[in-house]
């Protein structure tokens, strides 16, 4: 932890505001709200408070019970166990844990953990009045917003709110590396599910059309589709000769672009650019892929093709993610999210949210990742798309595990596993088992935790592989390819 870090002026302001409130609020109930999305910054701040306030004043930390997230209950339990507090000596109570409350409920009950928390807050005045301490409730922006909407009474007797904005913190040593490898799945839309004629028949058809009229306007589309067919064969490993078919694929796309540009068929051209981008991506030529996705994006915007725009943004996001440019990936996925909301496409919106969850995970911002996975989960649940619901649970689980929320992660992984079993995706069930096994390994360091099932599973076959993030793994494969 770097306690030398100089805070941004606005953060220093909030820090000071909170400390004078803590010092002045001794002897009476002083409910304070601290808003901070970055858990590392939060930890740094709390340590600073501890340093500065001791020994005159003790800083206590308490975590909300996740199933019954009652502020009163949390504080009462703490006081019950602390003689110092019972004697009403100078102290402050920092309450954590609201950031991992779920916005959806795993058992499909009506009330989520967040709902419960809000209910307790709203209803808690009488109970809290017995505690003559400053109580700092640490929340994320999202929870703060929820409080201003759903716990108006608590909001109205808050004694102060301190906002902390993002700081650029130096990379901290990882607490555990067990969950690096496990980022999830490719998007369905990148799998070309178009319906094509068998290759030979299709080539014959094109030849006949060309023979009749070399200027036939439908030829552009045909070549584009031929390019897609070759791409799919390559991707699925169906090509008889990889090198040859790759050349054919590029050639077909090129012909399509020439014809479509000439005939000003912009809507078709948007698609051709997009699929050519995908082909480059498949061939690990990421810069070219990005160029074509961008061309597709520009064109789509020109002709108001929302779907095309959203697809291009998505793929740009993925490609940036592969290149380790997470911030750019987030930008693209954010734009894509806006698009899907404009079109009103819940399915795509869910995907965009899920992607953002993944991006933030890669960036190491696990809290943000949890937020987005939670949101995507809500949508997939709503539209009943179990496959992605399972993926969202899995993603959520990894982020929770990263934050050390073992118990909750375990629940979520089990939820994901059940779903994957139901829809019969065997390799993902394995991933879930692996994750549960890894959770068990985390538990060894902390003996209070009862190891989950899955203990008998073997460790990953290639441990080095398992600790590399997906993007690094790809990069490694890429290097292998280029050295061949």
């Amino acid at each position: 932890m770097n306690s030398e870090l100089e805070l941004k002026p606005e953060n220093q302001d909030s820090y000071d505001k909170l400390i004078v409130s803590i010092e002045s609020g001794q002897g009476i109930l002083t409910p304070l709200i601290a808003v901070c999305d970055d858990m590392r910054l939060r930890e740094l701040l709390i340590r600073r408070y501890e340093e500065e306030l001791s020994p005159d004043l003790r800083v206590y930390r308490v975590r909300l019970n996740q199933e019954e997230p009652s502020l009163r209950l949390g504080v009462a339990t703490l006081i019950q166990n602390e003689e110092y507090l019972q004697q009403k000596k100078p102290a402050v109570i920092m309450v954590m844990g609201s950031e991992t409350l779920m916005f959806v409920s795993p058992k499909r009950e009506d009330r989520t953990e967040v709902d419960k928390f809000m209910g307790y807050l709203q209803w808690g005045r009488e109970g809290l009045m017995r505690f003559p301490y400053p109580i700092v409730l640490w929340v994320t922006k999202k929870i703060e917003l929820e409080i201003t909407r759903s716990a108006l009474d608590f909001w109205s007797w808050r004694k102060g709110v301190a906002h902390f904005v993002q700081e650029f913190l130096p990379e901290m040593p990882r607490e555990n590396n067990l969950f690096e490898a496990q980022s999830v799945s490719l998007r369905d839309s990148e799998e070309d599910t178009g319906n094509f004629l068998p290759l030979e028949d299709f080539k014959e058809l094109i030849a006949k059309v060309e023979e009749k009229n070399r200027e036939d306007p439908s030829l552009g589309t045909m070549y584009s589709r031929l390019g897609r067919l070759y791409s799919r064969r390559l991707r699925r490993g169906e090509a008889e000769d990889d090198k040859l078919e790759k050349e054919e694929a590029f050639l077909s796309f090129q012909k399509a672009i020439n014809l479509q540009s000439k005939n000003k068929l912009n809507d078709n051209l948007t698609q051709t650019f997009f699929y050519l981008g995908l082909l480059y991506k498949h061939c690990s030529q990421y810069q070219q892929a990005i160029e074509y996705f961008q061309s597709s994006l520009e064109l789509a915007r020109e002709i108001d093709d929302c779907q095309g725009e959203s697809d291009a943004l998505d793929s740009l996001g993925y490609t940036c993610e592969i290149l380790g440019e997470y911030q750019k990936a987030i930008d693209y996925h954010q734009q894509s999210l806006i698009m899907t909301r404009e079109i009103g496409d819940r399915f795509e919106e869910g995907h965009a949210l899920y992607n953002l969850g993944q991006d933030y995970y890669s960036l190491g911002e696990y809290q943000e990742s949890i937020n987005y996975h939670n949101l995507s989960l809500l949508i997939f649940r709503e539209i009943g798309y179990r496959r992605m619901e399972a993926f969202a649970y899995l993603g959520l689980g990894y982020s929770l595990a990263k934050l050390g929320e073992k118990w909750k992660a375990k629940q979520v992984f089990e939820q994901a596993k059940t779903l994957f079993q139901e829809i019969d995706i065997e390799h993902k069930v394995k991933d879930c088992n692996q994750a549960l096994y890894n959770l068990g390994k985390m538990a060894i360091a902390q003996p209070t935790f009862i190891p989950p099932f899955g203990e008998e599973l073997p460790p990953p076959e290639n441990p080095e592989e398992a600790v590399l993030p997906r993007s690094h793994r790809r990069a490694k494969q890429r290097r292998k390819k280029t050295t061949m």
Binding site: D16, I19, I28, Q122, T148, W157
Partner: protein
């Protein structure tokens, strides 16, 4: 520690945002306020008849309702057997319904009886306690019958109600179809106690106004008849937004024979002229006097400049808790300055400090607002009335009222206006330009 720091810390502590319910707090800080409301309530409760004895009490969040009800309880106690309780203390919010409110009334009357050591026959008492205990699945110690068990048992029953969902659920299931039995039991208890103490009972239920509007609808629209059945005077506090919904209002008016009392927000200005909203108007001196008395009870006059007091009062919109909040934020700002320069002894709440405090509060207000909200706010400012186009807008309007963005003022006339800090927000956003 510097003397100035200590004085500001004391002020910070005194500027609590909670209602004044404890005796020592009342003695320290209470300033007579809205006395006529207590008078009116007293009159109504005294004049209640057997068939018409339910009173609805409502008002904005933080305008002093709970403190007033506490005072009211005190005032009535010599003539009535007053049972004043907070429902929040008894039942978890998610589970509030008309059944457990009724049950809570029974429990609270028994507790009050126990506290005041009212003499009722052992056998009657035993039978009543057994009834309460069975319904809440509370074990009665078999060896300890009689008076000594009473108080502890009530505590145990309350704990059960508060912490065990299953108890609350079964209570509801059991009495849902035979609520009249529950009501009969309450009537029995009421009659018994009234006979014993020779006073009429008044039940005052506070904190029902913290419920979600949806829950309030279920209770006060769908089940109000049952809730109002017991033969006893009851004062209910409900959220301000509820009587603004026309069908609930009609319902409540009929059921209470028009006994709906609104604790008004203090008027700082007379009703504005709708055609000339920017006109400079003289504030009402009487309100300012009360408000400055309230502030000076809590903050040393040497720590705050006169002009600052004036601004704080005018920005409160007439809501007591907002008045205290602005002053409290100002105090925090001064404490910050002291922290930064310990040698300074000239720090005071002045115009600059108030300005900084108001900026913070404006930002807090802006947090949950959407464009739709802004539209409604602007319209309310321009028209001084509720003008909602459809149900979604009505819902949003009620939320804004619930959240103190929109305030309701009344005298002979009744009107709505936006909170002064919200007005600043709208102005800064350029939404008030015509």
């Amino acid at each position: 520690m510097s003397e100035l720091l200590e004085r500001f810390r004391t002020a910070y502590r005194n500027l609590q945002l909670l209602s004044l319910l404890k005796k020592e707090e009342l003695e320290k800080f209470y300033v007579p306020y809205n006395i006529h409301v207590i008078d009116e309530l007293e009159q109504v409760v005294e004049d209640c008849s057997d068939t018409n004895n339910k009173v609805i009490f409502t008002g904005h969040r933080g305008c002093g309702k709970s403190t007033l009800l506490g005072r009211f309880t005190e005032r009535m106690s010599d003539r009535f057997f007053v049972v004043f309780f907070s429902i929040a203390d008894l039942i978890e919010m998610s589970d509030i319904n008309h059944i457990n409110i009724l049950f809570a009334i029974a429990v609270q009357i028994m507790e009050q009886t126990e506290q005041q050591q009212i003499n009722i026959s052992e056998s009657t008492k035993k039978s009543l306690y057994e009834w309460l205990a069975t319904k809440t699945q509370t074990q009665i110690q078999s060896d300890s019958a009689g008076i000594s068990v009473g108080f502890n048992l009530i505590e145990m029953i309350k704990t059960k109600l508060q912490s065990e969902k299953i108890v609350r659920r079964e209570l509801k299931q059991e009495f849902e179809r035979k609520t009249s039995e529950l009501v009969a039991k309450i009537d029995e208890i009421v009659a018994l106690i009234q006979k014993e103490v020779n006073q009429e009972i008044v039940v005052i239920i506070d904190d029902l106004d913290k419920l979600d509007l949806q829950v309030v609808r279920e209770i006060f629209h769908d089940n109000v008849k049952m809730l109002f059945k017991p033969q006893v005077r009851i004062v209910f506090s409900i959220p301000i937004a509820t009587p603004r919904e026309i069908n609930i209002r009609r319902h409540l008016e009929t059921e209470t024979s028009n006994q709906i009392y609104v604790m008004p927000v203090a008027k700082l200005y007379p009703k504005p002229d709708i055609n000339n909203r920017e006109e400079e108007v003289e504030p009402i001196r009487e309100t300012l006097k009360t408000f400055s008395d309230i502030l000076y009870e809590r903050i040393d006059p040497e720590l705050i400049e006169r002009d600052a007091v004036e601004t704080i009062m005018l920005k409160s919109g007439g809501v007591l808790r907002e008045l205290i909040r602005i002053a409290s934020v100002c105090c925090t700002k001064c404490l910050l300055e002291i922290r930064r320069d310990k040698s300074r002894d000239d720090i005071k709440i002045n115009a600059e400090i108030v300005d900084k405090a108001l900026t913070d509060m404006r930002n807090d207000f802006a947090t949950p607002l959407s464009k739709r909200h802004y539209d409604i706010l602007v319209r309310t400012y321009r028209e001084l009335q509720q003008n909602t186009k459809d149900d979604t807008e009505l819902e949003k309007f009620l939320d804004l009222l619930h959240g103190l963005y929109i305030l309701e003022y009344r005298n002979a006339d009744q009107w709505y206006d936006v909170h002064p800090i919200v007005y600043d927000l709208l102005e800064r956003k350029g939404l008030l330009l015509t």
